[in-house]
């Protein structure tokens, strides 16, 4: 059981000529193994800033981030151990894989860096990872450009799982994919989550998948959490005006046609 606490975190960016920008204002939440939290909000609301702080690509201006009660290490082996626990799946599978390297290379690297298995077993572990994300193991020596967008995103997920993390941050993991395969990739993520008891932070602006994929939804507006609660409650019975605006702006054919009657 792993617990990641994000406590009263504030992040300020200094903007040249325009003073300070408050990107996150006193944000708190707790991510635990086996649970999924969806983080929703408009462009610029601070969603990706949270992801960057969690992966230590940025540091918080104030507040604390605790993994099982301990602050995120700043450097060295301890930081590496943190990064073995908390992994990220990026939005754009066309940009997040290195075009010069094979799929094997992408999956071997985290295995070696984090000494997940003995050297002799790396080959078998790579194959096992591909099987876990339902990819043909014959793809192992291909390059990213030989794969479809959905296949690439599955490789990115396999890469994130390679270090056997307990928490996964998925930043818009399906928004670049064709609609007909989005559901398949999300269902795969949900399945992997159950198999490995992962805690997932699902960053999205799609309220419909946020509701179905997550246990809880956190709504962020201009760096402030305006609503945080059970996924169904937040969507079906939103308390905050901003959540209502987001919900009403999302296409919802079911409501449209039932309003027109004759169902």
């Amino acid at each position: 059981m792993t617990t990641l606490e994000f406590l009263n975190v504030t992040k300020k960016y200094t903007v040249r000529g325009a003073g300070e920008l408050l990107a996150l204002d006193d944000v708190s939440f707790t991510l635990t193994s086996g649970r999924t939290i969806a983080l929703v909000g408009q462009s610029g609301s601070g969603k990706s800033t949270i992801a960057k702080i969690l992966t230590q690509l940025e540091s918080a201006t104030s507040g604390s981030i605790l993994l099982d009660g301990k602050p995120i290490p700043r450097r060295g082996a301890a930081l590496r151990a943190y990064r073995q626990q908390v992994r990220m799946v990026f939005q754009d599978p066309y940009a997040s894989l290195n075009p010069y390297h094979t799929i094997r290379h992408h999956l071997e690297r985290p295995l070696r860096l984090h000494s997940v298995v003995p050297k002799a077993e790396i080959d078998a572990e790579v194959k096992r990872l591909l099987e876990r994300v339902r990819l043909d193991t014959g793809l192992v020596d291909r390059h990213p450009h030989e794969l479809s967008g959905g296949q690439r995103q599955r490789v990115a997920i396999a890469r994130a799982l390679a270090s056997r993390p307990s928490l996964l941050i998925a930043d818009e993991p399906v928004s670049m994919l064709d609609v007909s395969i989005r559901l398949g990739v999300l269902n795969l993520l949900a399945e992997l989550q159950r198999e490995s008891n992962l805690g997932v932070l699902y960053i999205t602006h799609d309220l419909a998948t946020a509701r179905h994929f997550s246990d809880e939804i956190m709504v962020l507006n201009r760096g402030v959490v305006v609503e945080y609660g059970d996924a169904d409650d937040v969507i079906l019975n939103p308390q905050h005006e901003y959540t209502r605006q987001l919900r009403d702006a999302s296409p919802n054919p079911e409501a449209l046609f039932s309003r027109k009657g004759a169902k």
């Binding site: 999924t36 408009q42 462009s43 064709d178 609609v179 007909s180 989005r182 559901l183 999300l186 269902n187 949900a190 399945e191 159950r194 602006h205 309220l207 419909a208 998948t209 509701r211 179905h212 994929f213 997550s214 246990d215 969507i235 079906l236 605006q245 987001l246 919900r247 009403d248 702006a249 999302s250 296409p251 919802n252 054919p253 079911e254 409501a255 449209l256 046609f257 027109k260």
Partner: protein, 280 residues
């Protein structure tokens, strides 16, 4: 004045590579004046090729291999676009049919102010206008799409994504076209901005009466805004009907699959799994 604005008859486009790719296959449809036609289908099904083909914007190896595209002008003239010569084609485009391109975030020239880019349209198509008239008309367009005339001297990078998209719409409106083709105009925007822009498109259509071909893969969105929806698969239109009929009684398996790809916001879980014990 004809009640229809555009007729496609047995229209086909082939990419002449080896082996040839039939990107658009025998498409026939009639677009009514003032109608919003939604065009949906997966990546690579031929949506954008069809949109480009209608305006003859295709480049080799794409070749129109059969059929005709007839534009029914307000004046009563019928124009066969597939037969227009180079200079009449140049005069026709943007004046009668304009386009909001996919990835409008990148469709503006980054080193020219948006005022100058708008004025360019008038300089090319309305050479009789004076500089002052061009400027006034560009300013009026920016007011119309609620970017505001004080942004005339802004460069694209100084505007948000939503504002850039509005500038693209202003540019497409400039010559009061009878048909606007919008290729994924709101895909890169978040839901609130998307909703504002859709609202605006619908207001402008009510005011100016143009027709719209709205291309996207977001079927739930099309169900809300379209008068009719065409579903495209492998270059063919496999289903064409009103949103309500598509939603309730889609007959083609691909349409059904596409409808099933979107979990419902407020309804049941459908093809979606969560929590323990649910089979995949």
């Amino acid at each position: 004045m004809s009640s229809s604005v555009l007729t496609l008859d047995d229209f086909s486009i082939v990419y002449e590579v080896d082996p040839p790719v039939e990107a658009v296959r025998n498409v026939s449809l009639t677009l009514q004046r003032g109608e919003i036609l939604g065009l949906a289908g997966e990546s690579g099904c031929g949506k954008t090729t069809l949109a480009y083909g209608i305006q003859r914007l295709l480049k080799p190896p794409a070749v129109i291999t059969s059929g005709s595209v007839t534009f029914h002008d307000e004046s009563g003239d019928d124009i066969d676009i597939t037969r227009l010569g180079a200079s009449s084609l140049r005069a026709f485009r943007w004046d009668k049919i304009s386009m909001v391109f996919q990835g409008a975030m990148n469709a503006l020239n980054p080193v020219i102010t948006i005022g100058a880019q708008l004025a360019d349209v008038f300089q090319t198509h309305r050479p009789e206008m004076s500089r002052a008239e061009r400027q006034e008309e560009s300013a009026r367009l920016l007011d119309l799409v609620r970017v505001g005339r004080d942004r005339l001297r802004s460069y694209p990078h100084e505007l948000s994504g939503g504002m850039r998209q509005r500038v693209m719409i202003a540019m497409a409106l400039a010559l009061k076209p009878q048909l606007m083709i919008m290729d994924e105009p709101t895909t890169a925007l978040d839901v609130l901005i998307q909703r504002e822009i859709l609202q605006q498109i619908s207001e402008l259509r009510a005011e100016f009466g143009f027709s719209v071909i709205f291309i996207t893969h977001d079927l739930p969105l099309l169900l809300e805004i379209s008068d009719r929806i065409a579903i495209m698969l492998a270059g063919e239109i496999v289903e064409l009907d009103t949103p309500e009929n598509i939603y309730r009684g889609a007959t083609h398996p691909y349409t059904q699959k596409l409808l099933g790809s979107f979990p419902s916001l407020t309804g049941d879980r459908g093809g979606f799994i969560r929590g323990e014990g649910l089979a995949s």
